[in-house]
Symmetry: C2
Subunit: 629 residues, 2 copies
């Protein structure tokens, strides 16, 4: 998927009374030692999650605006919302006129700091919940405010929660144990590897705050956040101790207690001590109080200001990517096998979908929403299906040109034989996570649509077939995806690929393929990323061709400085519509790539379709994978 | 050229007595208020020049090591030199055993900060000349030392100069006025444009410290530093004043006084006030003392710590690239025409060189050094020749695999018909600066040499022929140069291109083509960069194909979001040896590119060879530019 989105109704929320209550709280000595003149409401949760749980949607609650990115600031006089170009329209529709929309990226739009400085009375205090602001953001904001005579203060009670009387409970879904047949490596071995990294860098403690890292390490999955099989927790690892902070009610299941060896620890250094989720702060304080003068504590630089600041500065070693993030990115052989299985099942569902669409569309009864629902229904028939991995992007004609489009009842269009259809969708299976985009036409695409599609396909192939040295960072491959589009004066305004988790988040670091970042980690065999160039013509159509690909060793003719080489192997095995290609624009090598890819789709997915007795989809697959010349 | 180098004798310098004198100075209250326990000697001059004048070669003077990169630190007990892998051998040969070589890039090598902290007694003072350490380097070093209980102190008198009794005078070469026929834009118009940028950003003052920026702005050239037609100066620009700091003896020439309108200023805001070079510090102090509370001063973040710190922090606005650096990078039409003329003359000299080499090499009398000398002699016959733009890299066989190789008497090899020859050379002409690399064989290259050459050529063409959107940064093109090498498991360990000045430095910012940087500025029509992929097989041969290319608008079929597109036009017009190509590895488009390039070489350079009556070179050119099939 190219970009996250959130569905939403589009009538403005009435916020006058809520803002009045919030402003009261900002002056109430029950919550603040001195009144604060402004309160910042960031988007995130305490774990800097990309998707958040309903109880963490505080910025949406106070403003009505529910896009994936935005920061609200409320002062005594003003309420302002900063968001980016994807959300200008949506935010203006969802917020009432108590709110001022601050359009980020426009020259005339002030930064949050500059705006605060321009509206605040002298010597003001600006409050924020230190749990949901990242340490580096706190630092920048605090510096700017201080230099203008104000101060940033941490307000321990979240003031939105104070006024949010019907705030949902924090989810505490049942935990699922991932057996070795799926995880490949026991959590004990993962802890040992982590401690090896800590010893290498002379680090004594590591504070894990990212939910997918904790789920991965303990071989556990939850369902606390939609689309992301994670659960709310923190963990602190010492060289001889493991502390897990989680709603203790979740640990009553004997199998779970056994998995974590809570009742009969085999070795003291592998004994998990469990604590309530909320006690991470005091426990980390206690650990820090007992630190030796040279002891060092690792914490991600994107962790919350609150937890970060518990660690005294001389002991604090912030890192851009944690060792868990790096270890998780390189899939072990069991995970790779699981991802392959998941992608075969996913391909079965999509072959069925496209065969079904082909039959149904001429009847005029299939819409963007019903097609997405059908895709979900077909996936749910596959073994070990858990849920979707993100909201399906299902767009016809001009709707597909909106990169983060998700169909709503008021925008829902009917699929016809006259327009291009883009579907970007994926699922969580117990053995793996999928994410695939296909762009298809059920009638006759125009020459221009075919031309653009073919440039996108050339870019997709250029990345997928690239051979590059070990140690290459993904951003160095981004231009390969654009060269054919550039040559014709075209481009797309998003990155080319993101890391993909294994029965975990569909977006994960630390690798990716994008012109936007320089801080990504080098690609390594076993990493899994998406390859998804596109082209979007506003008001007309959108094209994207996305496979999930596995980084694998390559064996070219030579081996300069013994560095070794890498390339990609597609995990996604869904035919790419030949009807959309202008094959004359493809080189012989590109045609060979298409034919070889389709041969693999037919062989691998065909066998599974046959096994599942899905005859109609099998026929569709065989027809759609005929070699091109 | 790929990388700078400095020739040098290789016997170690005897430094015992010098170090004794330096350590005395470190304790002498004439220079330091309290004794310092360590003294840092960086490589640079006060302008952060890449090439430096003899009077600024202080690190070389104290240590004997004269590579282009290195930092010396002398304590009471130790003397240590940090340099990178290019110079390990050279530094160990040039330094006596008073010195410890610190091999940067090796895991076991401590950083300068860590090493200082490990050897210094408690509470030490570390001195450095604040004029030759950049502001950001000062900041990092100071922070590290302070956190370990030491302090970094600015020593106003350079302590090397104290012990360097026969230190050369700072050069004060004659200044050359660049007329409008070469500069294209008057210095007054450049000042007006600069003030426009300042007004746009609400900046009141701009301190110029880079020598090429000052030379460019005033349409003046000097010869204070070999290869770089610059002169020692500073300049400070206000909205109504211009201060030039330069050896005032240089300004006696009436033509020069007239050029700068020193005696009869036409407008008060365009009147240049001249000051002695050394008075920049006190004058900047005076300006800063009179700043209004909101006044802002621009200075490059690479400027010296000393000048930077004169500006009080609330008024200081450091910038990575100055407006002069950005303006200078985009060549005006007159400069572009001049660069084209210079490259035609340069091609004439090189055609002559290659025709001469072809005849002479079989006699066994041509060496790397004599070939380089011949190239210089032939260039010097061309109109408006001023000098070389960098030391010629002239390497045969294994010598060419050393990327920064310059032939020395003890390494000098004879050119034969059995080995590949690489020559990377360039010149300064009044109308422009050149830089070209050709790799040729005068007998029969091996299949492997041809294969590697062809991959390098494919990379060269991929960059040169690339079409990309306006706003693209050069680093996004770097992988195009490597794709063909990567596909065969090969690579090269340097960037692909650098900015080139117009009768200025052969290396200039802010644009380039490299995997190493993310902070380059977007490419724009009128910018000029080199395109120079290579391949180096240690102990065997080296290959590089380098043209200087001009960024020009491209007109592809479409124009996405009206962004416009760019491509490159080669300014270098020297045939690329067909004998080195395995044409079967070239695509039809690549063959077309070679033929079209050679057609231009023949048409444009052929006409000039004819005009100059250089028949033998003309015949060579015609033979070497026959179309390939």
């Amino acid at each position: 998927m190219a970009s996250p989105k959130t569905d939403a109704g589009m009538s403005p929320k009435i916020t006058g009374e809520l803002l009045r209550l919030l402003r009261n709280a900002m002056r109430n000595c029950k919550y603040v030692s001195e009144p604060i003149q402004a309160y910042i409401i960031p988007s995130g949760d305490a774990h800097q999650s990309e998707y958040i749980a309903p109880c963490d949607c505080r910025r949406e609650f106070i403003s009505g605006f529910n896009g994936s990115a935005g920061t609200a600031i409320v002062t005594e006089q003003h309420a302002a919302m900063w968001t980016d170009g994807r959300y200008f329209l949506q935010a203006s529709q969802q917020m009432d006129n108590n709110w001022t929309l601050m359009k980020m990226g426009l020259k005339e739009t002030p930064s949050q700091e500059d705006w605060l400085i321009s509206v605040l009375p002298e010597n003001s205090k600006v409050g924020v919940d230190p749990w949901i602001i990242a340490a580096d953001q706190w630092k920048n904001m605090s510096k700017a405010l201080t230099s203008a005579g104000h101060s940033l203060v941490a307000v321990q009670d979240n003031l939105i929660d104070v006024v949010w009387t019907d705030r949902p409970e924090r989810a505490s879904s049942q935990l699922r144990i991932l057996g070795l047949e799926h995880a490949g490596v026991s959590w004990q071995d993962k802890v040992t590897a982590l401690r090896g990294k800590m010893a290498e860098r002379k680090i004594n403690w590591f504070v894990a705050t990212a939910l997918d890292e904790i789920a991965w390490l303990f071989n556990l999955r939850g369902a606390d956040i939609e689309y992301n099989p994670v659960f709310f927790a923190y963990a602190i690892f010492g060289m001889n101790s493991i502390r897990l902070f989680v709603d203790l009610k979740r640990l009553s299941d004997p199998a779970l207690r056994d998995h974590l060896q809570l009742d009969s620890p085999s070795r003291p250094d592998m004994s998990v001590q469990t604590f309530p989720y909320e006690s991470v702060y005091t426990e980390l304080q206690a650990i820090c109080a007992a630190l030796g003068p040279k002891d060092k504590v690792w914490i991600c630089d994107k962790a919350s200001c609150c937890l970060t600041q518990v660690i005294p500065k001389p002991h604090r070693t912030p890192i851009p990517y944690t060792p868990l993030c790096l270890a998780k990115a390189v899939k072990n052989p069991t995970e790779v096998q699981g991802m392959k299985r998941a992608h075969i099942k996913d391909a079965v569902a999509l072959c069925e979908l496209f065969a079904w669409l082909e039959k149904e569309i001429p009847k005029g009864t299939v819409t963007e929403i019903s097609a997405a629902d059908k895709a979900e229904e077909l996936r749910s028939q596959q073994k070990d299906f858990v849920g979707l991995s993100f909201p399906t992007i299902s767009g016809v004609g001009p709707n597909a040109a909106i990169i983060h489009y998700g169909p709503l009842p008021e925008t829902n269009r009917t699929l016809t034989v006259n327009e291009v259809y883009l579907i970007d969708s994926g699922a969580q299976y117990i053995d793996g996570t999928t994410d695939v985009t296909r762009t298809v036409h059920f009638g006759t695409p125009s020459a221009y649509e075919k031309e653009c599609f073919t440039y996108v396909l050339k870019g997709h192939i250029a990345v997928s077939a690239a051979i590059f040295p070990n140690g290459t960072k993904g951003h160095l491959l981004d231009s390969f995806a654009r060269a054919a589009l550039w040559e014709s004066g075209l481009d797309y305004l998003h990155g080319t690929g993101h890391g993909v988790g294994c029965f975990l988040n569909v977006h994960e670091g630390p690798c990716g393929i994008s012109y936007k970042t320089f801080a990504d980690e080098p690609l390594e065999a076993g990493m899994i990323v998406s390859d998804e160039p596109g082209y979007y013509e506003e008001g007309a159509f959108g094209i994207r061709v996305e496979n999930v690909v596995l980084v694998v060793p390559a064996k070219p003719k030579y081996n300069y400085r013994n560095r070794g080489s890498l390339t990609f192997e597609p995990l996604t095995l869904v035919p790419i519509q030949v009807k959309m290609m202008n094959t004359e624009l493809l080189t012989q090598r590109e045609r060979d790539w298409v034919n070889e890819y389709h041969r693999r789709c037919r062989d691998v997915v065909g066998a599974e379709l046959e096994r599942q007795g899905r005859q109609q989809a099998l026929e569709w697959l065989i027809r759609e994978t005929q070699p091109i010349v």
